[in-house]
Symmetry: C2
């Protein structure tokens, strides 16, 4: 619990400067309706995990906060863009405790708001030159961020394709969450390391650290959905099962279960209501799928931490990155 509090402090440390970069990027958007729709979700909060990772990665390789501030803001803008478009695609009406952008402004304006954030994201990182970063570093940092955007789209398309399938393999599932979630986190840490002037080994290790904690983050989400409490989650336990979502737990149980249990499990996944959720959770427990997901996330985090210990000096920034890796598993929602 103490650890979690400390991480909150770490994330807060940079959020004012990140918020300022994002504010500057969006305040000139015109007409006003588009500006408001573009700013809505940014103003609704968010942990600012990704931009903090970018800045800490720059610091951890001996660079300045300033060098990666715009790249961090860029990654946060891309994250927000993807949330706005995902909410339209999934018809989700709430986000960060507020109505989604398309609920408030309609789908056409929400599509445009997402496109605007996306454009501004690239514009922001390009402006890193103003902060004294040489073009030779901006280009590969930007390339990293752009590549992750393609992956976000591909990951979302994969996820959409999964809803009609019950034969998703673990490898397919892990590939999907890499693209949909982990690639952008890896882009945050990698671009930060590049802009901070890291060695190729440091850049590679921080990229891999970002990928691993990104994977662990998503798998922990899957795990908490059945292992946490309604009070901590802010929604009923087992929501993923009710929605018939593919998670590492579900994929694992489908792979391991006897034909009989598998059939029963599938029936529950396809059901609309929540009356048999606890039975589905029993099946997952029986085949060790809940424990399995927890282990995979744990191993990813351990590996991520070891990578940093190998290539980085012992600094407060490295310490913060190690703490954030632990935080991914310690959070209860």
């Amino acid at each position: 619990m103490t650890e979690t509090l400390e991480v909150t402090e770490i994330l807060k440390k940079y959020s004012t400067r990140i918020d300022q970069e994002i504010k500057e990027a969006l305040e000139t958007v015109d007409p006003e309706t588009l500006r408001q729709a573009s700013e809505h979700l940014v103003k609704a909060g968010g942990k600012k995990l990704r931009p903090s990772l970018a800045v800490l990665s720059a610091e951890a390789v001996g660079g300045t906060v300033k060098s990666a501030l715009k790249a961090g803001a860029s990654v946060e803008l891309i994250h927000t863009f993807s949330l706005i478009h995902d909410d339209i695609m999934d018809q989700d009406e709430k986000r960060r405790g507020k109505p989604s952008v398309h609920v408030l402004w309609g789908e056409p304006m929400a599509i445009l708001a997402g496109d605007t954030l996306f454009s501004k994201a690239f514009g922001t990182v390009l402006k890193s030159e103003e902060d004294g970063v040489p073009p030779e570093l901006i280009l590969p940092a930007l390339q990293t961020i752009v590549d992750s955007c393609v992956k976000i789209c591909e990951g979302q398309a994969c996820d959409m394709g999964f809803t009609e399938r019950l034969d998703v393999t673990e490898s397919e599932y892990l590939g999907m969450i890499y693209k949909k979630t982990a690639a952008l986190i890896a882009a945050a840490t990698k671009s930060g390391a590049i802009l901070g002037g890291g060695t190729p080994e440091q850049v590679e290790a921080l990229s891999e650290y970002g990928r691993l904690i990104g994977m662990a983050f998503q798998i922990q989400d899957d795990y908490l959905d059945v292992a946490s409490s309604e009070e901590d989650l802010g929604k009923p336990v087992g929501s993923d099962i009710v929605e018939g979502k593919m998670t590492l737990l579900v994929v694992n149980a489908l792979e391991k279960a006897t034909p009989e249990d598998r059939e029963r499990f599938i029936t529950i996944l396809k059901e609309e209501g929540d009356e048999n959720v606890s039975e589905a959770m029993e099946i997952m427990k029986k085949y060790g799928s809940i424990q399995y997901a927890w282990q995979v996330a744990q191993e990813d985090v351990n590996q991520a931490k070891n990578l940093l210990l190998d290539v980085l000096d012992d600094t407060p920034a490295r310490d913060a990155l190690l703490k954030i890796a632990d935080f991914v598993l310690e959070r209860s929602h």
Copy 2:
């Protein structure tokens, strides 16, 4: 007519290499559904006006075709992305004679296909380094392209806002078409001039040339809607009036008409059917609005051509750019 044919030849000259760049950018998109949805509109054709302008601008300042090929492909990808998202927003079911992306794959996949093209667009121009372009030129070229993307979003938002208003001024209208249409064409010519190693004066002149022919292009569209024939247009004359769209002709007539004519004109604009379209056209003719739009487009093109004559040597590329400027006005659809 001879001139128009020549321009078609000019555009064809580069289209194979542009198509190849776009193909390479998209062929790795995975899963297949997303790749198909992303490629659909690219494969459906298009004149490739924007990428040709980028390449010709590079050549006109003494650079190589190669230096601006990826920027050209990038601009074409952005144009295509904006068409896909616009078709969703405007619920247009056809594009380039084929069903729109959202009609074939549904709105969620069409949003994603647009986002994918958008991401790939930036990735493509970043790869210009492989073609020997130095980072110092890639960054400002990319900044130009990114800035135009923000404007495209803003222009579309303005256009959406206009449908509920009848007091749109000429200056507001021109500002909207600059952002929605001309900014990307200006980005094509400006980025081409930058990548080709043009002087600041040449870059500025080619940027302004692109803006002016982009404005003329849109105004000519407005003009042809009432001044062309159904045969040439491929749709009934006066469609914009039936749809109640703001065009330079409509804005001009609304500004100049007597209160009585204005009221009648507004009534027709708000009507669903097409029975009074010819009466609306008579009102526009009475106040010289059709002639006015033609003149504005003509002046833009003349100014665009003069700018080039001032700063560019007499080369085949300059000649091609002059011909394209004329072509904007000579086309009948």
